[in-house]
Symmetry: C2
Subunit: 593 residues, 2 copies
């Protein structure tokens, strides 16, 4: 049976020692006092370990089933969902007006990581509801907000996002789902949507589908896509669920992982829908939520890696196999624990330094989202928009790799389902794919985000790194050597790659796009390098101030040193690849593959 315990101390360290959230001027941040966030995190950790985590294996083994048009979730999900509902967790960062708690988004991210680590498939029912609520909040009329938000924020009704169709995922301009305007101002929505997470289930009284569709006669392609609210049950006059709408589940997909979440084929057959936002501006409406949604997927990468890591550590301490070559460590036992072996250490340090760095990156990104939304800070908005594909792509890729490394620590026991390590990899895998496959993230980063406002935000990022290095160059000789120097070098590599794109992407855009994936990873490493430098500094300050738990802070510094020494130099390889341009990548005729 896998273990999971929420790393509340690590989260607190980032919130308070590194990001110093209560010192920020962002509205609502003054509430984030240490004791308060500590209490929230402890409570979230408790639910994660005690309620959600025990159902993770159950969900994987049972999956969801469709019987006579009704979707049933795995044993125990319904009861657990009630508990999460009762806790008001979905509305943590939603307006009080609609029953939310109006907390900053950063706290939602902190909590979300635990929930997701404990049971990714389960928490997606709630996560999709949160996303759909955010869309209605941003684009709905007052009447729509009043009608849907209180029920969705309480999770009495859940939400979904319907984008993909069988023949199009990334290229939504090819969409075929139609929305015919009706005389009463509503629409009749018809078409098929696939891969709809939490598409239907037995845990809520209604499901509010947000559906992208084309209004006939509108502009061609992506510019003619509109967003609609299509409830599973249309509402009675009094707002209660009434007649069944023309939407049904065609199938539940058999997937590699996240079995506990019902991924549905949804069939719309003249279903009554209501325009959300402006006609033909559906993609814009989706885009406004994209930073949050994609950050949430990057978070899944970190969360699965964290959960898998915790189990790998337990196993490595417990399993006796072989002897420490530098001297027996467990003389009374038949062998030493796995954790004495350097190659096991390498794997665990890769994992540890990634999840802790990734967590900091997620929380930093969340503070930028809060600044963008709560402060209307356009610089923060621009920066987080630039970082979003990195957060999504890099953290989900690395997160997946780390679950594979954690599984590997178990040897053959990792391959059988009994220990749950296979599930972590199978569940983590989806984060690299949905919400824009990672290749599309790389394209978004290099093909779109880099050049926004003449490169203003990427310059701001470099400035930020540069300033950090300049301000902290005299902290200590060791800090300069272990943290500042590698960060500078990596940032220089990233700048060189940007420069290469500028100089060579003009002649041939494929020179830039052939290096986009490498660039995304390179950027991710620099971000984690920056996070580790900040954490290293904060930990050193805590030690200098005589913090009682010295081992905690010393471990932070040692883990950061590992990242800077062993992981960050990957930027050089990425740069070398980027600088080879498109020639070798595009050399073959398609027929010769």
């Amino acid at each position: 049976m896998p273990v999971y315990s929420a790393p509340t101390k690590d989260t607190q360290f980032i919130l308070h020692d590194v990001l110093k959230v209560t010192e920020a001027s962002t509205p609502g941040y003054d509430e984030l006092e240490k004791a308060f966030t500590g209490a929230i995190l402890e409570e979230a950790g408790k639910i994660s370990s005690e309620v959600l985590h025990p159902l993770n294996t159950v969900g994987d083994q049972e999956g969801c089933r469709l019987e006579n048009g009704v979707v049933y979730t795995p044993t125990g999900f319904k009861e657990a969902f009630e508990q999460v509902k009762d806790g008001g967790w979905t509305g943590l960062d939603m307006p009080e007006q609609y029953g939310g708690q109006n907390m900053p988004y950063v706290l939602g991210t902190a909590v979300g990581e635990y929930f997701s680590a404990a049971n990714q498939a389960f928490v997606m029912y709630q996560g999709l509801t949160h996303g759909a609520s955010a869309a209605i909040l941003a684009h709905g009329t007052d009447a729509q907000k009043d009608t849907y938000l209180p029920k969705m924020i309480s999770c009495e009704w859940t939400g979904t996002m319907n984008l993909t169709e069988p023949h199009c995922g990334t290229d939504l301009g090819l969409m075929r789902t139609k929305a015919e305007p009706q005389e009463d101002g509503s629409y009749k929505v018809s078409g098929q949507k696939i891969f709809i997470s939490a598409g239907d289930h037995d845990m809520s009284d209604n499901v509010i589908h947000l559906v992208l569709a084309k209004i006939p006669g509108g502009p061609d392609g992506i510019k003619g896509v509109s967003l609609f609210i299509v409830p599973k049950f249309t509402l009675n006059e009094d707002g209660t669920p009434g007649a069944r709408n023309g939407v049904s589940v065609g199938n539940i997909e058999k997937k590699m992982g996240i079995h506990g979440n019902s991924t549905c084929v949804m069939n719309y057959d003249e279903a009554t829908g209501y325009l959300l936002g402006d006609a033909h501006k559906g993609m814009r409406a989706m885009f406004t939520m994209m930073n949050e949604a994609r950050l949430g997927v990057g978070m899944q990468g970190v969360s699965q890696a964290e959960a898998a890591y915790q189990n790998a550590v337990e196993y490595a301490k417990d399993r006796l196999q072989g002897r420490d070559v530098t001297g027996v460590k467990n003389p009374d036992g038949p062998a030493d624990p796995l954790i004495v072996h350097p190659d096991i250490r390498r794997s665990l340090m890769d994992q540890k330094s990634f999840v802790e760095g990734g967590r900091a990156f997620l929380l930093w990104g969340s503070t930028l989202i809060d600044q963008a939304h709560r402060d209307k800070n356009t610089d923060a908005d621009g920066l987080v928009s630039l970082l979003t594909p990195v957060i999504k792509g890099f953290l989900s890729d690395e997160g997946y790799d780390m679950t594979v490394k954690a599984q590997q620590v178990f040897g053959g026991h990792g391959y059988i389902e009994e220990h749950g390590m296979s599930q972590y990899t199978r569940d983590a895998r989806i984060a690299q794919i949905y919400e824009g496959a990672n290749g599309v993230q790389a394209l978004d980063l290099v093909g779109r985000k880099l050049a926004v406002d003449g490169g203003k935000y990427v310059m701001a990022f470099f400035e930020l790194v540069k300033n950090f290095c300049k301000e902290n160059t005299d902290l200590s000789e060791d800090f300069t050597k272990s943290f500042i120097a590698p960060l500078k070098a990596a940032s220089k590599d990233l700048q060189a790659a940007s420069m290469y794109f500028m100089q060579n992407g003009m002649k041939n855009p494929n020179n830039a796009l052939s290096g986009s994936y490498d660039f995304m990873h390179m950027f991710g490493h620099v971000c984690l390098g920056l996070m580790w430098a900040q954490m290293g500094k904060a930990a050193q300050e805590a030690l200098d101030a005589g913090a009682s738990d010295a081992a905690f802070y010393e471990t932070k510094i040692a883990t950061g040193r590992y990242y800077m020494a062993r992981r960050l130099p990957a930027t050089k390889l990425h740069l070398a690849r980027i600088e080879t341009g498109a020639d070798t990548v595009m050399a073959l005729d398609a027929a010769n593959f």
Copy 2:
């Protein structure tokens, strides 16, 4: 439904244009004429595509089941097994004396790749039989050989290898299974073995288990382990299967992949066993087959990557999504095929350059095994022993990564089981784990193989690379720039890493072991770089000689250029990591993970 077609032309290119097998002096190689190997490969390809491949999904979906102590394989396996049996494929490289065809091992590898690509779980029944036969051939008495080999080589009886126990896998010295000597010279074997591939099934008349166990009173630890033949049915006087032996299936493991193979918990309860080879020399007996067994697992990595790649290419050509940024390629369609996009190209080129380079590495390694066995060439034996952990570890790691990349090309369609791309990753995953987890391969490489005979074989490898570079430095300016220069640089990195280990491993062996995994990968890249340089040269020679299929050879050169430019520079990153030594890897107390 996934596709698979055996890449016979590629195999022929390696056998005849690169390795020039018929020119080799190794006994039996003169028979490997182009037309002959072509006929064998075509036939093997046909069985792979038509018989084995269609059952791959079936095996994954149905799995094996245990009912009343009897193991049933998936629908169709039994009939397919008959066909493979009838074809005499298991005995391809076995002595004629026992019904084999006495072909070189290299041909077995070439065929094995196709079978494994078509249906890894299925072909393991046969592969384990081959392995067990090889052990009996190497260590059995004449009577044992006469009794078991004809039946096993014909696959009327299948074989298994029983090493792992619940509490020990890598560290077999901890083994608890006992073999009590009996008056008639036989033994009573008792204990539990786990993770026994093809442990039992319904496709053969008998299962011949090779079981590692300890004879009471023998030396402690690994030096007291002996190898036993334990048939499922003990044999009658006339050699036919008789009474059921004291061995039974405790369970079939639920695994991440290779569902079609019955991975069994085997319980031995005073089962009658016969010593194979010398008492207490069981590990040595296992080791003699290890190079072949491990090469076979590396082959699984390549084979799954090849199969997944073929499907990714099909999908990338077929799926219309987005437009080529350099100009529309499919003006009559609603969008261009995925394959126009540089990031898809990057992924496909990673896959293509790996599988083709990996195939060459496997076949080269197999010729070394042939030289070792058929020529009694100790230099070849030493070199292939050095390369074995690289072949196993690097090719299975990379092979797995490539299946993940192939799956990614499918976007969401890769995550659902329908397209079969998930199965390739789930099946490929095991190769990183069994037959010595890859961390153990790295340990074997750096902790044992490097230093054998004073580093004689690693020096021989460097010499081989150096000579190739020297001999081919004037081939053409382009060849020197695209192939020789990167190969030289990578080999230099590998030498620097070896040097680092020598200089720093003495003070502290952890300085070497902390870099062992990086070293294994670095070594793998250099080997594939060498393979690509050899293939590039052979392709250029074919073009210069006016070969009719110019596109084939030009594609080889272009693919090689990609590997040299984009993949091979990874050696620099590995070296940088290695040179940081053990400090950051071993910094934490175990309690602080």
